[in-house]
Amino acid sequence: MGSQTKHLTEEQITWAIIDENELPQMAKDHLVRCQICSRKVESLTSSLGKIGKLAAESVPVPPPRPVFERKKSKQRSIVFSWGHLGLSAALAGLLVVVVFGGFQINQYRLHKRIAAVTREMEMDMSLMAEVDDLIENPLPQIYEEISGEDISGVGADFMDFLIPDVTPVGNKQPLHKKGLV
């Protein structure tokens, strides 16, 4: 009685389309007897069948190509050859940029380093020249002019001659070494 009155659920209707064997035996028996449920299944099956039919009708199949002969259409091959050509050109360009750019960067760095070393050497030479000048003549030009005497010839020997070392007696030191002269 139950199987005759209790209709299939929506879920069971769907399973009946996928695989009727998935239904419980009671539902299978009901489906055989019940026109309402079997009509629902038929209606859905028919709708789904129309999808396949319309899809097949909408696709006119061209005659089979010979399988063992490659035959590409002209338009397609142009598209793809342009694609490959563009890709190859882009890669080649990138390679040139990387190699040439790298070389240029190295050159630039080398030039910069040489310039820095040269500048440093010039500064060192200028400093050494100043030091040499000071050794030759410790008194700057301006003081020589103020004193009105040219003491460029005055050196350590002349000072020794002018104020000779006197052998100290006891703890006595020469006057010029005490800073009194």
Partner: protein
């Protein structure tokens, strides 16, 4: 079949002629371009000929062929996506499915009907997940049975049934597409 497995090109060419139309349609349903579908179908049979020796069960040739075709379609989609990404988009084909139907349909009503049909299919399929969509197309457009779909997809039958159930549930909840289909004689 056994001759084709031994490398007999003639025997394989016979098989290719027999399966050409269903494989071509299956590819066409996915790529929607006549030129691409022709190229891919040819590739499918070339690949199949090279690998047919590895097929253990001759009875599974049909589902195995569909597996090869699905893989070729996926390769094609990947390539197309990559070309689009790089800016080398293929020119829009004038022979997409709607226009194909229009140019070759017997009368104006059928032309419009086919165009509407593909629009409805597009709308409905966009609501399905990738797996549900593939299973639905294989079952109801390519007309494969559950065990064949399971072999093509490399999944168990129960998995296929579950995904098909989900797809059908969405189909039943889509009144527009159902009404459209019910209105067709």
């Amino acid at each position: 079949m056994s001759s084709a497995k031994k490398g007999d090109a003639e025997a394989f060419a016979f098989l290719a002629r027999y399966y050409w139309a269903p494989i071509y349609r299956m590819v066409y349903h996915r790529v929607r371009s006549r030129m691409d579908a022709e190229d891919i179908t040819q590739d499918v049979f070339i690949t199949a000929f090279k690998r047919v020796k590895s097929l253990n069960e001759e009875s599974k040739f049909r589902s195995w062929l569909y597996t090869v075709a699905i893989n070729r379609v996926r390769d094609h989609m990947r390539k197309r996506k990559l070309l689009n990404l790089m800016g080398f988009s293929a020119p829009k084909q004038a022979d997409d499915i709607e226009q194909q139907g229009i140019s070759e349909g017997p009368n104006a009503f059928e032309k419009v009907l086919r165009k509407d049909f593909w629009n409805e299919v597009e709308n409905f399929l966009s609501e399905l997940s990738r797996f549900e969509r593939e299973v639905f197309i294989l079952r109801f457009m390519d007309q494969l049975n559950i065990s064949e779909i399971a072999e093509v997809m490399g999944k168990g039958q129960s998995t296929i049934k579950t995904h098909l159930y989900r797809a059908l549930k969405k189909f039943r909840a889509e009144p527009r597409f159902r009404t459209f289909l019910e209105g067709i004689e």
